[in-house]
Symmetry: C2
Subunit: 127 residues, 2 copies
């Protein structure tokens, strides 16, 4: 049986280091303002944050609430539908955790040679 590849879909959403980081923050902290997300995710630019949030909003994973006031205030949160991402993120996270261990076993703790884990970010865990 052949089916259309669902990874394309899943990967479009999860791909890129930024989207997963955003989702993680929102899942942990609940509602967050644009500036809070910026502070919580070091090194992300406004451009990227805006872009990624827009995509997540289009996919009905993130909700964007605008408060029409001066100065503006915009809050982001995970939609009810978006909560379905949690098990996916969790599964990937669990596997990733195990895989870090596995790589250490294979190549030793200092595995600078190819694994490229230098850009791992410290974030709150899913639990």
């Amino acid at each position: 049986m052949t089916v259309y590849c669902k990874f394309g879909t899943a990967l479009d959403i999860l791909t890129g280091k930024w989207k997963s980081l955003i989702l993680l923050r929102l899942l942990n902290h609940g509602t967050m303002r644009f500036s809070e997300l910026q502070k919580a995710i070091p090194d992300i630019s406004k451009k990227m944050l805006t872009q990624q949030l827009k995509e997540l909003e289009y996919h009905d994973i993130v909700h964007r609430e605008v408060y029409p006031q001066i100065p503006p205030k915009v809050e982001y949160s995970i939609t009810e539908y978006g909560q379905l991402m949690k098990p996916v993120l969790q599964t990937m996270s669990d596997w990733g955790a195990g895989h870090v261990k596995h790589m250490e076993k294979l190549y030793g703790k200092g595995d600078e040679a190819g694994a490229n884990e230098s850009d791992l970010q410290k974030v709150d865990s899913l639990q």
Copy 2:
């Protein structure tokens, strides 16, 4: 509690349309030769196939068996450890399938406007 982000790790492996396509083929067909993979994955270039396979091999997900003969013969397969990817792939695939449905509900069947599903590939399913 803060932990190192495991998504970086998981995404490094799963990211890119090619790696997931390769894993899918190998999971379905078992052992495959380089040229078989090339035929099975239309539009992938030798360069990309080689590169992705190398990375998967480094991560102990794919095994590379070289038969020292002329003409050369190289077979690729999923390692025992690599089988652990299956649930991850399955979870992502399941969510992706549901998400396609969700997008159709929201935006209608013809959702050319932003979802960019035009590059979905036909592949054998995990089942």
